[in-house]
Point group: C2
Chain length 341, copies 2
């Protein structure tokens, strides 16, 4: 009850015989207002059950205190935790976060950007969809002077601030680790998509082989969508080669898991016969048998840093923003799937 019509600052003003301006200032703790008035305003605000309307404020000063976050999908651990990391920071600064999923669909991504623009979000944080090859929608965001920061799935075609992990290093270290465990024919699961992370991991893979004088064998590089099923098929393909690999470094934990399943079905010893390593440190990797060696992407940290970088841009005003690239060091998590002892 009580909440008949919406109560506004005008109602408060009326009841106190002052103006809405004063009420507004009082509520915002403006120093130009006396403490007495402030108290009175606060009191009647409670009495009348006043609920501020951010929309009106947002309209007035063109700031919504909302930032849009676009991820391919929110139900993958990695993205979910980055979002969590972003939210932690944003919330502390009184910003709300709108989460949008592109489902790796280009059109949806474009539409989402448009919707966020219409909603007048104060900025956008995004991880680019797998199939995106045209970046005009992101350029539009920038041209409107709206802060934009990309994380993980980024692109060089945009002069934009970005946060990612050193995928190259993560891959290099993993392959190096496999080599040190005695592996000599190391296969790699990668993606044909033009997403930098996969290209970087591939580069880390080839460079590590080269540095350790292991010949690069094209047959051992399997391209696919990196889902579990792709890993299964990739592994089967590898097992048909004249010479079987003695290790698989997958650019995705899921594909690595698929490979593990196939190996176990065929009673091939992991890691003795074939060592395995994935990428992302998905939660399940520690639960498999054997636990899967993988690379941690510092997801929450990445979210924190992305948000911090975002707010830096934000404060640094319209101009004078120089795009900045932050690269986090990934961490190799060596587990039994690759530890030959």
């Amino acid at each position: 009850m009580s909440t008949k019509t919406k109560v506004t600052i005008h109602d408060i003003a009326e009841k106190l015989n002052i103006t809405a301006s004063t009420v507004s200032r009082a509520l915002n703790d403006n120093p130009r207002i006396s403490d007495a008035t402030k108290k009175a305003v606060l009191k009647t605000a409670k009495q009348l059950n006043y609920q501020p309307n951010n929309i009106a404020a947002a309209l007035r000063h063109g700031k919504s205190y909302i930032i849009g976050v676009i991820v391919p999908t929110a139900d993958r651990y990695f993205f979910a935790s980055v979002v969590r990391g972003i939210e932690e920071i944003a919330n502390n600064l009184n910003y709300k976060v709108i989460i949008c999923q592109s489902y790796d669909n280009y059109e949806k991504e474009v539409q989402t950007i448009e919707a966020l623009l219409n909603a007048r979000v104060d900025g956008i944080i995004a991880s680019i969809g797998k199939n995106t090859e045209n970046f005009d929608h992101f350029k539009k965001v920038q041209s409107k002077g709206i802060p934009l920061v990309l994380f993980d799935r980024t692109t060089d075609e945009l002069e934009v601030s970005q946060v990612m992990i050193d995928d190259y290093l993560g891959a290099y270290k993993t392959v190096e680790h496999l080599i040190q465990q005695g592996c000599k024919r190391i296969a790699h699961f990668t993606s044909p998509k033009k997403v930098s992370v996969f290209k970087e991991r591939l580069r880390g893979y080839t460079d590590a082989l080269r540095d350790y004088d292991i010949p690069y064998d094209e047959q051992l590089v399997i391209k696919g969508d990196l889902q579990l099923e792709d890993g299964r098929e990739g592994m089967k393909k590898l097992l048909k080669l004249k010479q079987m690999p003695d290790a698989v470094f997958s650019a995705s934990d899921y594909a690595a898991m698929g490979a593990m399943q196939v190996l176990k079905e065929r009673d091939i010893q992991i890691p003795q016969q074939v060592a395995l390593a994935g990428f992302s440190n998905e939660p399940f990797t520690s639960f498999t048998d054997p636990p899967l060696t993988t690379v941690d992407q510092r997801s929450i940290k990445m979210g924190n840093i992305t948000a911090e970088l975002f707010f830096e841009h934000f404060k640094s005003g319209e101009k004078g923003i120089v795009s900045q690239k932050t690269v986090l060091k990934p961490e190799l998590i060596a587990r039994k799937s690759s530890l030959r002892k």
Copy 2:
């Protein structure tokens, strides 16, 4: 370039020598506007690089086309996919979704509600935090006539529409399944929290035992936080009993996983010596060895239904809303961890 000052419908109007009202109507495809004018408006809108401002529209008709979703944490698969399910529906109806995490923290939950109210979201969908025992903040939402729907973690203390799965049934079926596999001493991991889902699962457990004439043994019911570590400790505790259980039904997949680890470390055969079952169908459960029997909570479906229920309320206008309780049937996913064949 070009985007000097913000261009509004007034700019379009000026350029065409018509009024803003006409532009507004044209943009909204109002039938009272001639096609010729509409085309002209659309054209100059593009020319001027016009970007609609939803905030102004929102202020005008008190609708933000945004709904707030509160989950304890967004990086758990279950919640992430419910959110995904909600988003699917909402997006199709041109609604955006603000995701907020309560981190199972009561104060944060209250603050979040307040923030969403200030943001004038058109409604709120929430899953209650574990530690919440006072529901005034939710009552406030209702008293303001803002649609509220709860999912999964709900409460009877609120006359509110809710969507959940039949936790009782899920538990009952699981225990029944274990019994049919020949288990006679079935332990249960549960939580001491006052969250209905755990109470229901416990009830399903006890009822199934009763129906199959298996004596209830208090020692076999372990209360804890249901994390992996709690499962490990619970299992160790159980193994110390004079008479070991021959099955464990855990109210959480994580705790079940902990139990599995302990059993494997001690070379206790699963499911022959101890059968295992969890709850939630977390993605990792199919990757464990043996794969873990569990109960699927239809998370995406739950999200879809929750959103649909929400929008029903929404349309049914202010009054005439009767709270409605939707219960989804869970699905027992019997895997090797419990199949004694």
